[in-house]
Each structure stands twice: as structure tokens, then as C-alpha cells.
């Protein structure tokens, strides 16, 4: 397109947008708008240019630069994106079961081998104490109250203690069974370290 023609068209479009044309000129230009795509595009350019000039004139240079660059806005956006990503990751991990209250409890529990060793040790200790008592080798002398103060000087025994060793408290049995992953009923019916008596 001829540059002079383009300039003429742009000038007419600007005057039209600015309302500087006479009614007759306005009518003629609108007739061109109805038929000529270059005239339509010239009007769009005139509007864009004048809007940009208005913005450029209305704002101080520094203000526009800061508002347009606005690093804090980007920092804020990135922060929110990071928070969102982290939240999504946590939700995904919880959803997949990697993080859950149940998983934390399972992690805190000793493993099955440990549980079996504990139960076996407890059972053996009971048997040894019981056989020692039958042989008469289990100390039955009650310590004096003064001696009781020194826990290392004597082994404190009493009939109630013997009873305790012979009859394991329910809570302890339940606790050990629970650690082993068994129920009290199972311990009665199955062979294992708790059925040695």
C-alpha cells in the first residue's frame, strides 16, 4: 500500500475517531468503513495509537515501568504456585498412602521378628522362674523394709510376686499379643511361645 495513501487514511481515521470530521466527511468515511478493509484497520490503529498515547501521557515514566515490570507480583505469583504445588504433593502422598496416621503407627511399631523375640523371651523367663521355684532355688526371703530402699541389695520377692509370675496379667498378655499381631483367642488355640505351659 502506498505510504502517502496510508498516512492519509490513518489521518482521516484519527479525525473520525476524534470527532473532528464534518457530518459529510463522517458519512463518507463510514461508507468507506462499510466497504474497505484498510479503512477499518486504519480506524482500529487510530484507536490503539491514541489510547497508548493517552496512557503514556497520563502516567509518569517510572510509574509505568514499575507497574509493568512489577517483580513483586511475579514473586507473589511464584510463591502461590510453590505453595499450591506443595499442597498438591502432600495431598497426592496422603492419597497414595505414603503419608497417613496408619503409616506413622506402622512405622513406630517394632517389626514382627522383634515381637516374636520379645514374646519368646517372656515365655522362657516364666518357665525358668517356675522351674526354679519348684526346685526351691528361687529366693523366698522377704527383704526388710530398710533393705527395700536399696534396690540393688536384694531381690524383692513375695507370694504376690510369685503369683504375678505364674499368672501373667491380662493386660500384659494382651499387650504382647497385640505386638505380635495376634488376638488372645488365637494364642489359646495356636501353638506358639505363649502356649508353652
Amino acid at each position: 500500500m502506498n505510504r502517502e495513501f496510508q498516512n492519509e487514511l490513518d489521518w482521516t481515521a484519527f479525525c473520525y475517531a476524534a470527532g473532528e470530521l464534518t457530518p459529510a466527511e463522517t458519512e463518507r468515511f463510514e461508507a468507506r468503513l462499510a466497504d474497505e478493509q484498510p479503512a477499518r484497520e486504519a480506524l482500529a490503529r487510530a484507536i490503539e495509537l491514541t489510547q497508548v498515547v493517552a496512557v503514556a501521557e497520563s502516567q509518569p515514566c517510572g510509574a509505568v515501568t514499575v507497574a509493568a515490570k512489577s517483580p513483586t507480583r511475579w514473586v507473589a505469583r511464584l510463591s502461590w504456585m510453590a505453595i499450591g504445588g506443595l499442597a498438591a504433593l502432600i495431598v497426592a502422598m496422603v492419597w497414595s498412602g505414603a503419608i497417613s496416621p496408619k503409616a506413622a503407627i506402622m512405622a513406630a511399631r517394632p517389626d514382627a521378628e522383634q515381637q516374636r523375640s520379645l514374646a519368646a523371651a517372656w515365655s522362657e523367663a516364666r518357665q525358668e522362674i517356675a522351674s526354679a521355684r519348684e526346685d526351691g532355688s528361687w529366693p523366698t526371703v522377704a527383704a526388710s523394709p530398710s533393705e527395700l530402699d536399696d534396690e540393688t541389695s536384694a531381690v524383692r520377692t513375695s507370694p504376690s510376686d510369685d503369683l504375678a509370675l505364674e499368672e501373667t496379667p491380662n493386660w500384659m498378655t494382651t499387650a504382647v499379643l497385640g505386638l505380635a499381631g495376634m488376638s488372645p483367642d488365637e494364642s489359646e488355640t495356636s501353638e506358639g511361645p505363649f502356649n508353652n505351659e
Binding site: Y16, L43, L49, V53
Partner: protein
């Protein structure tokens, strides 16, 4: 040479969306130039693309932009006639919106364009810049400007025209690439 329009198959919605991305802002400015109202311009813009969805398959690819502008123009003129938007509203400056439209209805102004135009404004001769400022920012008519500056009307017009040519050159619009025949 593109294929002839298929009058039976509706235009692919993604194609209409692409047309909106490509021409939507330019069309919005064009409509603003006719209607001088951002909300009305947005309404006509939507109506225009709604017609493109309905009848776009009747158009050829190379004429779709011109088709959009033509439909938009007729829609805008119909609204002007219907709502009595006549010469009175034409006296209002087109680049100042009336504030009733939301940000989504306002034409997009590129930061790079503002920077370039500001540099170009700084490079203008003082007398030209003064006229630009009085006309666009202060919204004074050329007659008022000429009177206040005590210069002939033709001189005020000439300064403005020269300034616009320089601003457009810095604005990045290539006249040779702009415009396509319908």
C-alpha cells in the same frame, strides 16, 4: 488457493477461537472507534463471533478477517441506529472509556507500545508534543487548541498529523503490511 467454503460443515470451534485470538483485539478497537463505548463494543464483538460460529463455514479462509470486520461494522451501525447513538456520541473521544465496562471489555494496551510511544513523544518537537497532549490527554478540540495557542487551525492540524506519523512509526505499525483488501 484455499478450498471453497463448505456450506454443510460447521466451522471448527477451535478455528473460531483462533480467529478471536488473532483478530479480537483489533476488532474491539475498530468497534470502539464506531461506538465509543467499551461495553457496546464488547457486546458487538461477541455477537460478531457468534455469527462466525453460525455462518463461518460459508466463508473462505482468506476473507474471514474482512468478513468479521464487515459483520461487526453492520452490527455496530445497527446498534447506533437502534439506541440513538448518533452524532452526539461521535463528539466524545474514542480513547477514553466511559468506565462502565469491566477490565475484560477494555482493549489491551501493551507495555512495550506505551514505552515506545513515550520515547517517541519525548523525541517530538515541543510544539507538536504540545498539540498531541492538548488533543489526546486534555481532550480539547483542534479549534480550541488553535485558539489557545493563537495559531491557525491548519497549523494545529498539521502539527498533530506530523506527530501521529512519527508516533506510528515508533509504534511499530508497518503501513505496508497493514490492511488487506476485502
Amino acid at each position: 488457493m484455499s478450498a471453497p467454503p463448505d456450506s454443510d460443515t460447521p466451522l471448527d470451534p477451535s478455528l473460531v477461537a483462533a480467529l478471536y485470538v488473532e483478530h479480537g483485539e483489533e476488532l474491539r478497537r475498530f468497534l470502539l472507534g464506531i461506538l465509543r463505548d467499551a461495553q457496546l463494543a464488547a457486546d458487538v464483538l461477541q455477537a460478531t463471533f457468534a455469527k462466525m460460529v453460525q455462518r463461518g463455514h460459508e466463508t473462505r479462509q482468506e476473507t474471514r478477517k474482512a468478513w468479521l470486520f464487515r459483520v461487526a461494522y453492520h452490527e455496530a451501525m445497527a446498534i447506533r441506529r437502534r439506541e440513538g447513538v448518533g452524532d452526539k456520541v461521535l463528539r466524545r473521544v474514542a480513547w477514553h472509556t466511559n468506565g462502565t465496562a469491566g477490565p475484560a471489555d477494555e482493549p489491551v494496551i501493551r507495555f512495550e507500545a506505551v514505552t515506545a510511544v513515550r520515547e517517541a513523544l519525548d523525541a517530538l518537537p515541543p510544539d507538536q508534543r504540545q498539540v498531541v497532549r492538548m488533543r489526546i490527554y486534555d481532550e480539547k478540540t483542534f479549534a480550541t487548541i488553535a485558539k489557545e495557542l493563537k495559531i491557525p487551525l491548519g497549523t494545529a492540524l498539521g502539527r498533530m498529523r506530523s506527530a501521529l506519523i512519527k508516533l506510528r512509526a515508533r509504534f511499530g505499525v508497518d503501513p505496508d503490511s497493514a490492511g488487506s483488501a476485502e
